[in-house]
Symmetry: D5
Subunit: 157 residues, 10 copies
């Protein structure tokens, strides 16, 4: 079965309306004043929508009151049950490449961060991310992912 079956019940409606309206995540993100990654995460049930997000989404996607019930609105603005979109280790080649970066460079990231910041972690909660496209001089496209997280030092106790 497709990934839609593993997602919250509202996901199918959102993806369908997006396809129908021929909207990009970029367009929706601009309309909501959010990042494309966050909007896509919201479609997959991995991020929370504010009530204003829901109003704007409904209008933009042309969703009628029937297709987006009160229960669905509650679910969209509720507290996501994160981490369930796909299996780990990822089997999807695109997502596996990100996993492989963590596998290969994890300790290098740790060593560099510890040196620059001390004993702590980069937060994945107080966190944002963007995906941008760059084209090099040969015309080849490159992906640039930015992961920005607050530095949290381990408390001394």
């Amino acid at each position: 079965s497709s990934i839609i079956d593993r997602l919250p019940s509202f996901s199918a409606a959102l993806f369908e309306a997006k396809t129908h309206k021929r909207l990009t995540f970029e367009a929706i993100a601009k309309h909501l004043g959010r990042s494309e990654v966050a909007v896509a995460a919201l479609f997959y049930g991995q991020a929370r929508a504010s009530p204003e997000d829901v109003v704007k989404l409904t209008q933009l996607l042309g969703l009628s009151a029937e297709s987006l019930s009160g229960a669905t609105v509650a679910q969209l603005t509720g507290f996501p049950d994160r981490g369930r979109a796909g299996p780990m280790p990822p089997v999807e080649p695109l997502i596996y490449r990100l996993y492989e970066i963590v596998q290969n460079y994890g300790y290098a990231f740790k060593a560099v961060m510890n040196e620059k910041f001390g004993d702590g972690i980069m937060s994945a909660i107080c966190f944002s991310s963007e995906v941008e496209k760059e084209v090099d001089e040969t015309g080849a496209p490159w992906v640039v992912i930015t992961l920005k997280g607050k530095w949290l030092p381990f408390s001394r106790f």
Copy 2:
């Protein structure tokens, strides 16, 4: 046992010399003309050193011919056996946060990339990464990781 035991035999010598010489990855990276992440990866046996890197490293770290034998040079400039620095899923909190980002936002990254680039993946091979520090208006430090990879479209066959 410490992580050193799981690494190539040259790692201990490199880390010890770095500590002894009070050198940062930043300083070594500048000397080698490489990224800090790549240099740290090289210390962990996850990246390859060029012969010039080895000469520069040896000088900067003050490594005598004895401590860095021919076999070690061969290993440093050889083909790394990547992916073995630590377990997956990571048990180290800092590295786990990166893993969690892949777990939570993996499909969101895929959806945004597919929309922007088509059917393909971001290469983790034709790839570079940087870690930078930003300080916000309240004085709080933030980590900014940049992951840059070439876009590879699936071949039609």
Copy 3:
């Protein structure tokens, strides 16, 4: 349950029509100008169809507009959620043999490729594959699988 239950919803319709029309992957592949492996992968939801592929498939398989809805066309030409056709390690004996080749000869392949090409990987994305039949002098059939992938050197960074 049979494997059909684990596949995208269009798979059942495609396989059924193929059986009904007594078409081989070879015939479909010729009609589409693609490899048999790619066509089979497309049936399993592991490869993407171009709009032209869909037109040709529909005609060849005699699929009416009803059996292949707009949503299905969108799914066929959309971005596949790859890697889900079966479990790993494979339990199917034919597929396990391929897995065993990777298990037994993986480091041998790596050593030979590193020697021939340097530090890098064979792409599984910029990639094509063929399956051919050979018959030896005793009349015994042999399978010849060709895996062809672009060589990607690790970036120096």
Copy 4:
């Protein structure tokens, strides 16, 4: 620790002599009349050497009687304990790409083979493999792996 530690005791001696003599797998393969993949597999303890292979290897690598004891010769010409060179799923990026091909195209290979050959498997025992380099018109190198195995039909019983 490096991969050498996980291999049969003769592996280190073979790899060291190969490096010292600046021999390629290609050269050794020609000398032994075998495939490069088989020779590399032999270095990793995943294939068996014939007594003639050992004689030729010893001469070519310049191994003295001391470095290659009777026990080692027995081990080289003995029955390999296959499958232990590395973990599965592979963590090495190059080997993972081969694994991913099995994961993504496994059922496509099965469907095509069943259609071409009937109910059975491609043998991984009555089997050979080659790695070749091709350069396309843009000068980019491509890897071509050939996997050739005898077709074994399931017995009717």
Copy 5:
């Protein structure tokens, strides 16, 4: 849920008809000219039926055209998706005992076979199996399983 739910859709019909007709695997096997193990495997979707098998099965089991549709016949005579009848390691005590024999005596079997046959494997494809009952002098029943497979030597390449 019972094991029937994990099997091909035709399994339930076959088992039900077998119960209804009070037929044993022994009787069906004789009628089909096959081994009881093969017939049971066929019921579980782990072996392939020839068109003649289907005709004979239908008659013997008294299956009407309705209960065994064309799609079911196609599935019975198609290429089985083997290996899915139950989990590994087995949780069923009877099947676990067989698994334990492989676990405890696996290397002993290998050592004896290598000595008797050389470097290779016993095929599980070019293979047949029988289960027989023996009663010892005390009246106690014993199970005798025969596993017969062609010896396949590793190709030299």
Copy 6:
């Protein structure tokens, strides 16, 4: 490292003496009045030796009192810590084929045994096994493994 490292400390001495004396398991088995499989299992620490077995083994293998200490004799005649010779699922191709037979035919074996014997299991303890070689009319060798175990009905309680 080779499998010897994972075995009881006496294994290396036994295998070495066997190689040195050019003895087969068949010859040793005859001398001990046991099955070849049992003798190989004994070498791998998976079966128990009687005091008489130890006397006969010592003589036949020409082991001096020094190489086979009292502690070793105690270990050989002690209670084996079974099940540790290799990993499960097996990575060795020969042993995997046996595992695959259990995976593919496990429920078929259960169905046939239940029909022939009732509710119970074939014992893997009150058990013996033999490996024999057969050569068919074309001169091709076949392996015949016999597994014989007492039938144990589930107690009614």
Copy 7:
């Protein structure tokens, strides 16, 4: 979903009737002349009912012919597909405690049994079990589980 969903289809009917009739396993066990543990196992599809058990159960539970169809009777008196009631390691705290006893005292049990009985196992097939309640002098309740299994010595072969 509740555990009922993972059980044979007759389980729900049995548990419901037991609740409705306010019957304890103790009462049912007495009526059937079996142990409470066996009766509970029968409800979970982990033990086999004799035809007499089914008659007695039906009467005691007041099950009409409709609720317990012929297929259900066949399933109850058939050969259970054991081992599927719950996951291992157990997540249920009560069952985990039993698992922990095996984990902590497993080798102690083995050592004591080997000393008392020789080389063999305690059968889990030729086996019975009881759960009893004891109250100590402070009024605190204690559980006493008795596991009784036939000793099976390893065959010498």
Copy 8:
């Protein structure tokens, strides 16, 4: 390697002295006023010795001050790091049978205990166990394991 290598450093000394003195766990248990299971667990580092136990053990086993250093005494009377004697699921056939009992009868035990005692668990801490031998009328030996644990009701909070 044998199980001794996975145990606390004192285990080897204890087992060796026990063998040398030809003492049974039964004899040691009587001398210490403890259960055989507890004494065996103590040998495997899974139970704690009191200072008096150490004195009595030392005398009975004839251990000199040298073989049982102060550090060893501290370890014996310290807090065991339980649960590490062997892998789970167990690969040892004797221990696996106990595991299988939990797998097959776990929910039956839970159902019977809940009925007899309410909502809670049988403690594996406030717990004791015995192994006894019974011989039936045919002379066949049976193992009787008693597991006795305090009933702990879930707190209402």
Copy 9:
């Protein structure tokens, strides 16, 4: 699918009524005289309700007799099948943090408890827990989780 699908059938009704009535766990907990953690656990089917809890819950949540059938009441006041609310290791970030605390500080907790209490465990059965909110001088909120469990010393036996 959302977490509701993995829970007992009554969970959906309880959560819906709670949302509809705009009740907090705090309010429900006060009404029932229980802890918020226990009440939430009850909603997830991980804790048991007393008959009085059910009466109070029904009234407070305004549940009609229809929505809460006799079977549901039986399930609510029955014996929970604990441990199934989510996967372990947890994929939900909030729950993972608690898991990480056990991973990082587990042995520290053990060492401190052993020192303070001796050889034993903190009960997770005879146990209660609370979650409280604290706000520090900067206005930042902190979570304070209290885990209180009876100390259970290992029995000497």
Copy 10:
């Protein structure tokens, strides 16, 4: 082997000196002005020591310059490689109870925290913990663990 073997090299020296000086974690914690849990975590290599901590520890434990080399001091004040003290799921009964609390009450904790704090997590980094002993009116000891972490709301992006 004991847990000491899995820990940083300084751990053995610290534990030995602590035993020798008959110091409790409580006493060391007071001397360092830290929590007992943190001090124990430091002994297990799971927390970082400040230079002042090292000075105070050295004095209190009576460690000479020889036993605590410069490399060890560097390791103690370096960046811990956390998460490696023991396996997960824990096999140690005391630590398992904490894991079970996360398994059973994880979603209850999430629901209560989401209600009290919104969408976010309790930090395990900006975090402290204490273990206290309480004795109830019957004289029975209770463990009270306090987990205090900063609340981190998910960033809106």
